[in-house]
Symmetry: C2
Subunit: 209 residues, 2 copies
């Protein structure tokens, strides 16, 4: 029976992030991570399948749970993308907000490693599928559910990127609101409003000569 | 010097799609693909790095070239998402429209194999990056370029999915227009319009008791 180790997962994650930042992801071994956390290799493998999973496992799971639970609890008839963003906001507040430094370091490590980027893409696809299912369970038609889930994950991706790069202390939920607003603005812009002639249209009017 | 082999790439791709459909991706070897195409293993490796690349290489390259060239040629001031969709439409007409059966079979093979799905995600990320760069070259600010590129790729992903599943003969460009319209609709729906009370808002009015 494994010994009870207070917050072993958190200690292993913190140790891994430190070591990846210090000496690179590739050069860090599971033994080193366990040692830094004051734990054994065996207790590492009690919690993670491999070195990569330290960066993904529990956070991705927790996020999906919170987002889908929140979507299920939304008021009836709330438009699907609004429901998705409410779910993402709940996860932002519960998981990411208190971990900005770790999330930022994690992003840097993942972006520097193609194999990790790939796993990140896969986790994002799994989150999208979970969100689409949660919307379908609310009676949203299948295609709208998938498109809304993808649009929501795009909003989150945009918000996480700007939040981890920002120099002020605005919370992630504000960046989610900003990203949703940006997506709405970009989606709403049509060639007609832009005042430029569209190929094949006779009524295009230019703003300037 | 390699012998000139008329349309070796096309013949290898067609042979690979046939064999993957007949006996599965995993059980098909490069030798079998080359044999079916009437070519040698060596000429296979003249064109593709491995078995997976038959499903990705030249099409992904061709698509990115056409999309980014088209974006560069758009009228000044065209809103960024419109420019992206014009680019995707050009690729739809030039590459995908005449290959609907192959594209559909390719999708089925990729969806059945996690490793291929991962490579598909990576290629999509590369397309997104290429599109964002093409927008930046037009003077679009960096964040708007990335968000517009992602929104455009989402539109394309949605359109490809419905096009390959549709039973009528409508061209892919029509599905792109539909998907853009759906994204615009989903993005424009706000809680206020939905007529449902939003948590924390005093002015929400329900449509029904």
């Amino acid at each position: 029976m494994p010994r009870w180790e207070p917050d072993a997962v958190g200690r292993l994650q913190a140790a891994a992030l430190e070591l990846f930042a210090e000496q690179g992801f590739e050069r860090t071994t599971v033994v080193e991570i366990a040692q830094r956390a004051g734990l054994t290799k065996r207790s590492f493998f009690n919690h993670f399948a491999d070195k990569r999973e330290v960066l993904f496992g529990p956070v991705a799971e927790g996020q999906r749970e919170i987002v889908t639970r929140e979507i299920a609890a939304c008021p009836d008839g709330l438009p699907p993308l609004e429901a998705v963003v409410l779910g993402l906001r709940a996860a932002a507040d519960a998981i990411f907000e208190v971990r900005r430094a770790e999330v930022t370091r994690r992003r840097e490590i993942i972006e520097a490693n193609p194999e990790l980027r790939e796993r990140e893409l896969r986790k994002r696809a799994a989150l999208t599928d979970g969100i689409a299912d949660a919307l379908r369970a609310r009676g949203v038609d299948s295609d709208t559910a998938l498109l809304s889930a993808r649009a929501g994950v795009l909003v989150q991706q945009t918000a996480m990127r700007t939040w981890t790069r920002s120099v002020d202390d605005r919370p992630l939920r504000d960046f989610l609101a900003d990203a949703l607003h940006s997506l709405r603005t970009i989606a709403a812009q049509t060639a007609d409003q832009g005042g430029v002639p569209v190929p094949g249209r006779a009524d295009g009017i230019r703003d300037s000569p």
